[in-house]
Symmetry: C4
């Protein structure tokens, strides 16, 4: 049963360049839609405009952080797809699962930007990012174990890196239940960690 | 008269890659716009945030289901265009009709997410999906019968598959008039059916 | 003076494929954004949902008509860019002017969909479409007269076709001042006229 | 330390065409999203529709100006990427910083369109454009000094042009504090200046 499922998933080869171009399109759109959550404050007295803009600060921060997350996934997605020669049904569906999580990101971004001090919003953001990170790890693991995708051109990232993303988001979600500030610090640190870790990894 | 219409439609060859790239762009944008229908709940008392998010559950479900539908159409569209060598005016307009139905999908998705228990919303969703399915079948049939599009590289899908999509949506629409729950079960089952049927088909 | 301006415009050659790909991206996004003007009716009594959807009928019609206009411009844009071998600064800016009109289309579409019986909305829609048509004709004329863009691969469309679009929209705007129904009939007829005229033209 | 950071940034070469295609996608989406800030006026008395449209005039102007800015950046971005042969980590992140500023543009555009006479809005618009201009200059400077990106195919723009954009926006921000009209004149002049300066520069 399990074997026939795996066989089914290895059918239907897709042109890699089409799958990459389609994913790139989704990345570009998601990254650009984030700004739509920033709404101009509606004020009646001009004196309220500056306070109104200051009140948007959490939304500006969540815009920047989510922008960086999507950018980092774009790099990782490229490096991952660069490892393989062809695609199949299994990879297609795992990629679709990942893209679904990715296209969802503007919602938790708007939520945490609107309610940065509410546990529910901070946890929700973390869970959405955790789901995205897990869907990406699933793709990574599939690519390493599914030999039919063609020779892996260079060795994949070590196991440590595979689990790092989901682990950090899980930690943030759990800490958010104690104090949302802990989680927010982790959310802000993740792009910084990636930025420097990425250099060491090579 | 009919003959001259058919002749008119076979004029004006389009570059296949341009038509495919344009369609891919529309697919990527539609799939990413679905999230815009998810609006952050506006609550005044923090205690209302969790109930506010729970109330969005039907919208999350309709987001996921429509995402899967668009993804499935993307695969089918690729396989269909892979069968032919060139395009013509007739195929262009049938493809445009299909893309029009596709770009419309965010509206019925938002509608059924907002009113999941209203017959009108559940029927409207089904009718929109039925129109999309019919427009896709029209393209399929055109490709099989219009020999000027170049050799069909592999045999097309059997007639049974052609009618399966429209039939399921029609059944859902009719059942929704009796009980909306029946229709919703069908809507949820369609991606699952496709997922497994797609494997058998090969 | 005039001569040096023309010389300035003929500088800076752009890769045709980049310009085409960029324009195609804008076309795909505009065509997909049209749906965002369709908002789910907010009703408190379920019995109001069907009337609420019926009230959206003018918006559905304006969605379909604008979708067809953008699609027709996409075909025409392709055929136009197929005539030339290279691009220059002048063509780039005329193309940008056209794209600006194109990206504006969702606004007049929403306006006429919201106020289909108001002269101001019907005239505004016509003026926006007139501007788009004129910007397209300017590109066509430039391509025919600017020999530095490379040999025109096939003879351009006759002068009659050049003026047909702007003339029809101008007529609609003027008739709208008498009776909006006349203008709306013209708006609905234009895609039909194009559909059949396009076949004769070849 | 500084040296090892620079070394780290020169790792990880990216396919230029992927980076360009991704940036082009973001450009096309930003330019098309600007229209979403134009909302149809909600009037109850038909006689209010024309005044309602006239009240949108500042939004139409800010739409046109921001459209021109994004278009000008698109040309400059192409010319810049045309100078080099390959990409690296440093260029990727500077490009991402620029794209983040670019995707943010619809917000200040909506803000100045809503409050064209408020100092806060006019200053905010200028600051957002200043940030975008600086991020672009950083990329330019990096490309000139980072020899590992491949031979610079043609000499880069003179230093004067590098500083022109940021200088003009900075001047506008400072003048806005005195009188917003001065800043708005500069905002309107920048596309005109570019249009003519671009020709002289060649």
């Amino acid at each position: 049963m399990k074997k026939s499922f795996r066989k089914m998933m290895s059918q239907q080869s897709f042109a890699m360049n089409r799958l990459e171009a389609f994913s790139d399109g989704v990345f570009a759109i998601v990254i650009t839609l984030l700004v739509l959550e920033l709404r101009v404050p509606e004020v009646h007295d001009p004196a309220e405009l500056v306070p109104g803009l200051k009140a948007l600060l959490p939304k500006f921060v969540s815009f920047v952080v989510s922008f960086l997350y999507v950018t980092i996934y774009w790099i990782n997605h490229h490096q991952l797809f660069h490892l393989i020669k062809r695609s199949n049904r299994g990879l297609f569906w795992l990629n679709s699962l990942f893209l679904m999580c990715l296209t969802f990101i503007p919602f938790p971004t708007a939520l945490i930007g609107s309610y940065p001090q509410e546990t529910a919003a901070v946890v929700f953001y973390g869970l959405a990012m955790l789901a995205t990170a897990i869907s990406f790890v699933l793709m990574k693991v599939y690519i390493v174990y599914e030999t039919s995708l063609g020779e892996v051109k260079q060795p994949g990232p070590p196991v440590f890196y595979l689990a790092a993303g989901p682990f950090l988001y899980l930690a943030a979600v759990l800490l958010a239940l104690v104090n949302t500030a802990f989680a927010i610090v982790i959310y802000l640190m993740i792009p910084v960690i990636y930025f420097f870790a990425g250099g060491i990894e090579e």
